[in-house]
Amino acid sequence: MEKWWDSVRSSGTLILMNKRFIIKLLLFLAVVGLLITPIYFLTKNIEQQNISTGFHFLSQEAGFELSESIVDYNSFMSYGRALWAGVINTLYVAIIGNTLALVLGVLLGVFSLSKNFLLSKFCYLYLNFFRNIPLLLQLFFWYGIFTDVMPAVKRATPFMGIIFSNRGINYPWFSHPGAIAVILSSIAVSFCLVYLVKQWAQKTSLRLKIAPLIFLFLLVEIAQIELILRFFPLEYPAVRGFNVSGGSSLSPELISLLLGLVLYTGAFIGEIVRAGILAVDNGQWEAAYALGMTKIQTLKKIILPQSFRVALPPMTAQFLNLTKNSSLAVAIGYPDFVSVANTTMNQTGQAVELVLLIMVLYLVTSLSVSSVANMINSKILGVAKR
C-alpha cells in the first residue's frame, strides 16, 4: 500500500517538475531569442551596407591630438593608444573626484547635524541647492567661470607665482621630472625618523610631549625643502606667445569637470552620511558621554564607524554615479574616454564596436568598484557580528 502511494506521489512531483521545467525552458528560450534577434538583424544590416566590422582599426594611426593626457600620446599613435589615454583620463577624474567628494560629503554630513545654527543651516542649504540643479548645468556654470570671468591670458598677472586666466591655472612646478620622487621619498624618510625617535623615547621611558615632536618634524621638513629647492629649482609659469608656458597647469576643462562632479556628488554623499549618523542609536551617544568621551571622540570612535555600516552601500552607488557622470566631459571639452571614443567613432565609422567598448569600460569599472565596496562591507558586517 505504501509503495503505491509513494509511486503516485513521486510521479506527481515529476509531472509538476516537468511543468515547471517546461515553463522555465520556454522563458529561457524567449530571453535568448530576445538577445539574439537584434544581434542577427544588426549583423545582417551591417553586412548589407558594407560597413566594416571588427577591432582592427585599433592599431591604425589616430591622426588627432588630445588636449591633455596623462599617458604619453600624440597623433602618430594608434586609436588604441588614444582610447587608452581616454581611459586613464576618466580614471584620473574618477579617483580624484571620488576622494574629494567623500571628504566633502563627510564634512557636510557631520556639520549638517551640528548644534551651530549657521553651520547646520548652511549645510542644509548647500545640500538642497546642489542636489537639485542638473549636473550638466553646473558643469556649464563652472566652465563659464573660466571663459567669462577669468582674465584673458595676455592680461593675466601672476599671484604668488600662480597665473589664473581663461586658459586655466598655471602654477610653479619642478622642471626636473625626478623631483617628485625625491620629495616623496624624503617625506617618507622623515616620517620614519620621527617614528624612531618616538619609539626610542618610549623605550627609555622619556616623556616627550607631542608639541616638540611636531616642531622637530617641521624643522626637518623645512631643511629638506630648502635642500630640494636648491637642487631642483621651481620653474615659474609665464605668458609666452599665445599661452602660458613653464611650471605645471590645470586646464579649465579638468577643473570645471572636477568642481562640478565633486560639489554635486558631495552633496549626495553628505545626505547619506547624515542619514548614517542619525541611524546610530541615541544610546550610543549617551553611553559614550557617560564614559567621559568628548563629542569629537564620540563621533570619531563610536558614531562614524557604526554609521559607515549603514552608509556604505548607498555611498558606493554615489561613487559609481560620479564615475559614470564624468562622461558629461564631452560637453565641456575634457578628453575623457567617451569623448575620445566619440572622435574615434566618427573618424572610423565603427559605431557598434565603440559603443561596445564604452559599455565594457563602464561595466568593468562599476563592477570592480562595487566588488571592492562589497568586500569592505562584508568585512565590516563580520566585525559587527563578532
Partner: protein, 332 residues
C-alpha cells in the same frame, strides 16, 4: 542616449533597399542637416530651414514629388550624422560633410557629387596681429569633435613642426562660444563655415580669417550603401542643378523653353522622354527641380553668395567653363 537609440535603430531596422518606395509611401523625404550653420542649413526666424544644403534636399523632394516642401529635416551634430544615415533615420545626409575614402568605404555610405568645394582655414582675433597660420605655434585651437578638421589640424601643425593645444567639443555651439569668449586663440573649420560663424557676430570686423587653406574639403551629400537606384537619384538631382546653369536654365526662365528645339534642353526638361523612366521618376523631374529650387548659381547666390550675408566668392565652385571645377556629365 541618442547614440544608443540610433544603435537600437540600426539593430531593428530591416532591409534598406527601396528607399524611393519608402520615401513615396511616407510622402516625405527625411533629410539630415546640421544643427545650424548659416548659409548651409539653419532655421530662419520663422523656423523654416534654409541654406545651400537644404536646397539640395528641396531639389530631391521636387524631383520625386514635384514640390520642394515634402522634406522632414533632421538636425544632426557631426558625431551623429553617419549612424543616423546607416540606421535609416534619414534618407539622405546633406550636411556640409567632407567626402573622403574612409567614409565612402568602411563607414558604409556613398557620396553624391560635391555640392560645395571648400577648404579648411583658421579664424583669429584681429588684435592678436597674426597674418599667417604659420605663426600659430603654441596656440590653443577650438574645433568640433569627429570632423575632418580635427585630423587636418593635427597634420598641419605636425608638418610645420609647431605645437598646439586642441580644444574639442561635441556641439558646434560650444566650439564657437569657447572661441569667441577667448578659451582658444584660433577657431578652425571649413572656410565657408568660418565666414558663416562670423556673420552671426555683432562685431565681425574684429575677426580675421587667415589666408591659408590647409586641406581639401569637398562637401557632398551622402546616402547609405546598398540602394543603387536611390544613389542614382540623389546623384542626378545634383548634376541636374549644375547642368541647368550650364544650359542657361533658371527658375525664372525655364518656362520659356517649353517649345525649344535644342535637343539637350528638350531631354533635360523631359520634352523628349527617357531620363525619368531610367531614374524611376516622372519625366519632368529635372524641370521640377529647376522650376522650384533653381540652378546652381541661383542657389549659391541666394545662400552664400552676394545675396547673403556671407558674400563668398564662387572660386572653385564656378562652372568648368568659367574657371571652376563644377562639371556635370551629360544629363541624357
Amino acid at each position: 542616449m541618442k547614440r544608443i537609440c540610433i544603435l537600437a535603430l540600426l539593430m531593428f531596422s530591416t532591409s534598406h533597399a527601396g528607399t524611393l518606395d519608402s520615401v513615396k509611401k511616407n510622402g516625405k523625404l527625411k533629410c539630415g542637416v546640421s544643427t545650424g550653420l548659416a548659409g548651409f542649413s539653419s532655421p530662419d526666424s520663422k523656423g523654416v530651414w534654409r541654406g545651400l544644403d537644404v536646397d539640395f534636399c528641396r531639389a530631391i523632394s521636387a524631383a520625386i514629388f514635384g514640390t520642394p516642401d515634402k522634406v522632414q529635416y533632421v538636425s544632426l551634430n557631426a558625431q551623429q550624422r553617419f549612424t543616423a544615415l546607416q540606421s535609416g533615420e534619414i534618407d539622405v545626409l546633406s550636411r556640409n560633410t567632407t567626402f573622403n575614402l574612409t567614409r565612402d568605404t568602411v563607414v558604409g555610405i556613398n557620396f553624391a557629387p560635391t555640392t560645395f568645394y571648400d577648404g579648411q582655414g583658421f579664424m583669429m582675433r584681429k588684435k592678436d596681429g597674426v597674418t599667417s597660420a604659420k605663426e600659430l605655434d603654441g596656440a590653443s585651437v577650438c574645433t568640433q569633435q569627429g570632423t575632418t578638421n580635427e585630423l587636418n589640424m593635427a597634420d598641419f601643425f605636425r608638418t610645420n613642426k609647431m605645437k598646439f593645444k586642441p580644444v574639442v567639443f561635441e556641439s558646434n555651439e560650444e566650439v564657437n562660444q569657447a572661441f569667441f569668449k577667448g578659451r582658444c586663440d584660433a577657431l578652425t573649420s571649413d572656410k565657408s563655415g568660418l565666414a558663416s560663424e562670423r556673420t552671426k557676430l555683432k562685431n565681425p570686423q574684429d575677426y580675421v580669417i587667415l589666408p591659408e587653406v590647409i586641406s581639401k574639403e569637398p562637401l557632398a551629400p551622402a546616402v547609405r550603401h546598398g540602394d543603387d537606384q536611390w544613389f542614382d537619384i540623389v546623384k542626378w538631382v545634383i548634376y541636374s542643378v549644375i547642368e541647368a546653369e550650364e544650359l542657361g536654365l533658371s527658375s525664372k526662365n525655364i518656362d520659356t523653353f517649353m517649345k525649344t528645339t535644342n535637343p539637350a534642353i528638350r531631354k533635360f526638361i523631359g520634352l523628349s522622354e527617357g531620363n525619368g523612366r531610367a531614374l524611376g521618376l516622372s519625366e519632368n523631374w529635372a524641370y521640377n527641380v529647376v522650376k522650384n529650387v533653381g540652378n546652381y548659381e541661383e542657389i549659391f547666390t541666394r545662400h552664400v553668395g552676394n545675396d547673403s550675408p556671407l558674400k563668398l566668392d564662387r572660386g572653385l565652385n564656378r562652372l568648368w567653363k568659367n574657371g571652376g571645377i563644377l562639371y556635370a556629365p551629360p544629363v541624357r
